[in-house]
Each structure stands twice: as C-alpha cells, then as structure tokens.
C-alpha cells in the first residue's frame, strides 16, 4: 500500500464513480494530512501575497516600500501556501532530509496558483540559486524544482557567492536585513522576470535578487514562492 509522504500511514483509496471510471489521480498525502495544507485564498497583501483580512499592504511591505535601496525593485510576490507548522515539517523533509519527490505533493497547487496570478506568459523564470556546496549536499535546488513546473523558459541568471553559505533559516530578521547581497548576476536578461523560491519570510533574499535584475534593466521583477 502507498504511504503518505508526511505521516507514513497507508493511504486508503475509496472507490467512487469518478475513480472507477477514470484513471485515478495519484495521491501523495493521506486525507488527514491533505486537509492540513493551507492554500492562500483571495484576501492577500497586494505586495507580498501573504494572507490578510482586508487592506492593501501589510506592515512589512509598508516598511519595504520606504526603503531607499530596495523600495521599488519588486513589483509583487505571490505564494501558494501559508507557513504553518505542518508546512514547515513538509519543507524540512523536502529540503533538509532531501526527499525530492515531495514536490509531487505541491505540484497541483503550484500549477493552479501560478496560472491564476501570472496568466500572461512573457516573463522569464529565474530560480534563486544555492551555493555550489549546498547544491552538492542536497543534490537538488528546491527553487528549480518549483520553476520546472511553471511552463515558462528558465534562465539561471544568478549565482550565490560562496561566502554567504550560512543557512537563512538560522539567521534572525535583523541579521538577514543587514546582510550584504549574496548574489551575483551571471547573465543579462532585459525582459520581465519572475523570481522563484521556496519561501518568502522577511523578503530579504527576493529583494536582493530583484535589485540585481532591476538594476541590470529588467522592466518588471515579480516573484513566486511556495510559502509566504
């Protein structure tokens, strides 16, 4: 029997008319875990895409907009899921334990949400890179795994400097904001760009990357993340 990717319990498939007549949709989570996934719906912050009751900008984005250097570099971010403890667990299994196939759990939602927010496809996709060292250790780049589902041309226009190898998730907000830009531009694009990453926490990583691309002449820089 197939095991749930999150809780390792067996997945029971009820027989219904739809899966009796049509080829079954492959499932990777059991029903219980499936319910724990929290999609971001309609009410969002216009800028960073976080779930929000009403209003247009969240307080984080108001601060970002006032920033002299980074205020205008990013047009908008859109994300698929909210950052719940369950999501944190799934992403840890995906990235840190290295269970690449976890992308299958996210795939249907990523495809749907991306199409909803970015319907016209002229932009190029730029996944946020890892350092070479970390890429070797993990054997895959999670941002690239997401990017491959988006059906737009992927441009690896960024590289990460080796010195900044400390994991973002281990830094405090203040440390992240004060840190120097960890990326370098490896290619000129001169076209609209959608940055892709697994998670938007403070937004520092995305803003660093967006700044480089915008300064280089990209007309518009948006971003798309799995989690906000």
């Amino acid at each position: 029997m197939k095991e749930c990717y999150a809780c390792q319990k067996g997945i029971q498939l009820d027989i219904t008319w739809s899966n009796f007549l049509l080829p079954p949709v492959e499932r990777f989570l059991c029903e219980e875990c499936e319910e724990k996934l929290e999609l971001i719906g309609e009410g969002i912050c216009e800028k960073c895409g976080r779930k929000m009751e009403a209003g247009d900008l969240c307080s984080d984005c108001v601060t970002w907009d006032k920033d002299v250097t980074y205020g205008k570099v990013l047009s908008k971010n859109r994300a698929v899921f909210t950052y719940t403890p369950f999501m944190q667990e799934l992403v840890a299994m995906w990235k840190f334990r290295g269970d690449y196939q976890m992308i299958e759990v996210f795939r249907p939602s990523i495809e749907k949400v991306f199409r909803r927010h970015f319907p016209k496809g002229k932009a190029k996709i730029v996944p946020i890179p890892l350092t070479e060292e970390r890429l070797y250790e993990r054997a895959f780049n999670q941002a690239e795994a997401i990017a491959q589902l988006l059906e737009l041309p992927i441009e690896n226009a960024l590289a990460r400097k080796a010195a900044s190898s400390e994991k973002q998730s281990k830094k405090t907000r203040k440390e992240r904001i004060q840190s120097e830009n960890p990326f370098i531009l490896t290619k000129s694009l001169n076209s609209p760009v959608i940055l892709v990453d697994d998670i938007y926490t403070t937004g520092m990583t995305i803003h660093h990357a967006a700044k480089l691309l915008k300064d280089d002449g990209c007309s518009q820089v948006d971003s798309f993340t799995l989690i906000r």
């Binding site: 197939k2 095991e3 299994m93 334990r97 290295g98 269970d99 690449y100 196939q101 054997a139 895959f140």
Partner: protein, 449 residues
C-alpha cells in the same frame, strides 16, 4: 573523528567525518572498500543500506551531483538519504580489539534457580560460534539479569556484543542498568535521536533500525522481544540484523510470547529453547479480569466514560499507580477530557510525543497516578507496582502477544507481586481468550516446578 569508529560499519560518505585524503588512504590500504549504495536488478532496485527492495521506497531525483536522473531510497530518509550515484563505505580492516578484562561484571545480585538455568545456557552459547538459542521467559522473569553471565563471558573473550530491541524506551531503560553492571566496558545506546554516538562500543544496545550502519560487526547478537513490532513483520529488519553480525556469530533470542513461526521451529527441534515459566519473585502472573460492556463503542463515540472505569478508579488502592491502554492515539485527548472530574494526576503519552521520555520518567518517579498510553508501553518498560486497564481490549491492535505483554506490566515487584489487570471489551476476541489461556498455562507450568 576516530578512525576506530569505522570498524564493523557501513556508512555514507557524509557520515564519515574524515577528509577525502584520509579516506583515500584507508581505501588504498584496503581498510575500507566501497559498494554501490543502490543496485539495479532486472525488475527492481535494492538499497544496500536498509536492504529494501519495495518499489514504493524508490523515487527519482534529477541529481545535481552527477547530472542524471536516478533513484534514491525513501526508506532511508530518517537516517540519511541514499543516492544511486553514491557509494557506501565498508570496513574491511581488522576487527576491533577490546581492552582485556578479567572481571567485567560488577553486578552483585543473584539469580533464581530458573534464571540460572537459562543464564548458563546463554553463557555456553556465547563461548561457542554459530549457535542459536531462544529464551522463552514470562514477563517479569528477569531476562536482563539472565544475560549478565553470558555477556560477562563474551567480554572476557574480547567479543563484540549487540543487544537489539525494538523500542527506544527499552534502550533507554537498559542502558543505565548495563552501565552499572559493566562499568569498565564501553557501552553505546543507539536509537533515533541519540546524543552520544561514539561508534566504538564493545556492547551496543540499539533499536533494530540502528543496525543500518553495521556490517559483520558482532560476535554475539542478542535479539530482545523477538515477536515485537516492527521486527516480526519487517523482513528488511531481519536482513539488517543478519548483516550486522559476523558469519560465525551466536544469536540469542528473547521473548515472552513467541510467534507461530518460532513455535513451529521449536516443535521441529530446529531451534533450541530454554523455558522460564516463572517470574523472578516466584509469584504467578496476574490473570486478566474481563469486563463486558455491551455499549462500549457507543459510549466512546459519545465521549461517555464507561462505568467499569469509574468503578475501577473508585475501588482501587489509593496509593497504587495504574496504566490505561487505549487502542489509538486519537483516543488520548478524549480520555483526558473524560477523566478530568476525578482527583487523579495523569498525563498521556504516545509514540510521536516529543516529551515521551520525560513523561515516562515522571510516571516512574510516581509524579502521576495514571498514565494513559497507546501500545508503545506494552513491553520492556518496568514500573514496580502498578495496575493495568485495557480499554476496548477487543480492538485489533491488542493481539494475543500484546495482551500477554500488557498484563505482564502488573505485579513486577517482589514487595507487591500481585496487580490487577482489567480488560474492558465489547465481546471477547480470539486474542483475549488465547492470551488468558496462555497466561494460565504458564502459571500452571510454573507451579509444577
């Protein structure tokens, strides 16, 4: 990292904390060899670390190391991901040499006549090679103490010893007892999340899964609770324990409730057995009392406390602690809610509980009157003086072995050798009937000695 800790091991590159140069040196001097981590067969893959061949355990990854798309093992993820393009590093040098000890055992207790009989058989098997021996001893027979003479002999002979048990709780309980008994021997306790992992223990007390890192390492392999989940259902774990011992190793099995497979081998004279039907304090096993409640399921659904539990709580000896076993994790919060009205201190524990270790210790220190638990505490753990209640004993998780084991938690102390075992059920199952019969049979055998 101490290169000594590579002896008898089978490791991933990132589990070896040595430079590439040092590893090259060890490879060139034939102290290490490598094998492919995953082998491709005609119709399936095999992970050479966890030994799985199940199709659902392999998934594909577009690998950034070798730039091809190839399988990796999902069964190994908890102990470290294994990629198809990786190698496993295998110790091929000399066996570990242990410090000579003339008198390794500092345990000063004594064994009963029946314990001694089993202990001597273990001791004899430990000096020989390639032996197999099953010790069939009732719960509370004092299995741990019976092992001491055999382990003493093995240490004197400079052998490497492994005591494999299915549960982390048991490892944590056994470790201090062995440390006390063998103070000058390097002992390692391994379970998922162990803090200390020297890799150089002469006596390794480990959960079976931890054997994933061993290869031809042990001269004496002791498999505790042979019949317990997950060992008895998982063929890959058998392969792991086979691989971890040397080809000429002696294997001792311990169990209170052998499964059909072992019972058949015993009957066919293929497996030597020593029977210890009496507890170390000489008192019989408590026989479970059955309490029928014909509307049990309905009450549980409506979150009503069955009267039999109320009666039990009101009539029990006030100083006595008790364990309440429930079939599922989901029932724990429900029970907690239902028992709020009583003047009892209690908590709940289950396998994934982050405070599991602390809660079990607190209960042992008598900080709670009651511990509500799933079957994780069915075996191995010893609380000196408790009663036991199984709620919904007819549930499928309570098979014959589980009920015998749970009943065996009661009356473990010589000062308080009786204990009450209450099974609340909605209709007897075969498991309940057989378990009670088995306990009565053992008591009969024991009384004839």
């Amino acid at each position: 990292m101490n290169p000594k800790s590579l002896k008898g091991k089978l490791l991933l590159r990132n589990e070896i904390n040595l430079s590439d140069e040092s590893i090259q040196q060890l490879l060139q001097s034939n102290q290490l060899t490598t094998i492919p981590a995953i082998t491709k067969h005609t119709f399936h893959y095999q992970c050479n670390r966890c030994m799985t061949t199940k199709r659902e355990h392999f998934a594909m990854i577009p690998c950034a190391r070798c730039h091809t798309t190839h399988p990796y093992c999902r069964n190994c993820l908890r102990t470290g991901r294994v990629l198809f393009c990786e190698k496993l590093y295998l110790w091929a040098g000399h066996d570990a040499a242990w410090p000579e000890q003339l008198n390794p055992c500092h345990w000063e207790g004594s064994l009963t006549r029946h314990q001694l009989q089993a202990a001597e058989a273990i001791q004899k098997a430990a000096t020989l090679t390639g032996q197999e021996l099953l010790i069939w001893a009732v719960c509370g027979a004092g299995k741990t103490e019976m092992l001491f003479p055999g382990i003493t002999t093995a240490i004197k002979e400079g052998k490497s010893i492994c005591l494999a048990t299915p549960r982390a709780d048991v490892v944590r309980e056994l470790y201090p007892r062995f440390q006390e008994a063998f103070p000058n021997t390097e002992i390692e306790a391994l379970y998922g999340g162990t803090e200390e992992r020297t890799g150089t223990g002469q006596l390794v007390i480990a959960t079976t899964h931890q054997l994933i890192r061993y290869h031809q390492a042990f001269d004496l392999m002791i498999i505790d609770e042979l019949d317990a989940f997950p060992y008895h259902t998982d063929k890959d774990l058998h392969k792991l324990s086979q691989r971890a011992k040397k080809s000429h190793a002696t294997t001792i099995y311990l169990t209170a409730t052998p499964r059909k497979k072992e019972q058949r081998r015993i009957e066919a004279n293929q497996l030597p057995v020593i029977f210890v039907p009496i507890r170390f304090h000489g008192h019989p096993l408590p026989v479970p009392k059955l309490q029928l409640d014909i509307s049990l399921q309905k009450k549980l659904k409506q979150s009503k406390l069955p009267e039999s539990i109320t009666t039990f709580i009101q009539s029990r000896a006030p100083k006595r602690q008790f364990l309440l076993f429930v079939p599922t994790v989901e029932m724990l919060p429900q029970m907690e809610e239902m028992l709020k009205g009583f003047s009892l201190t209690f908590t709940t524990v289950h396998a994934e509980d982050p405070e599991r270790k602390e809660k079990v210790n607190a209960y042992r220190n008598q900080e709670y009157d009651l511990l509500i638990t799933t079957t994780i505490l069915e075996r191995g753990v010893t609380f000196p003086s408790i009663d036991v209640v199984i709620l919904d004993a007819g549930h499928e998780v309570f098979d014959e072995a589980a009920i015998v084991q749970i009943a065996g938690r009661a009356g473990r102390s010589p000062q308080d050798p009786t204990g009450e075992v209450l099974l609340i059920h909605q209709g007897k199952t075969n498991a309940i009937v057989n378990a009670v019969r088995q306990i009565k049979q053992m008591n009969e055998k024991g009384s004839k000695l």
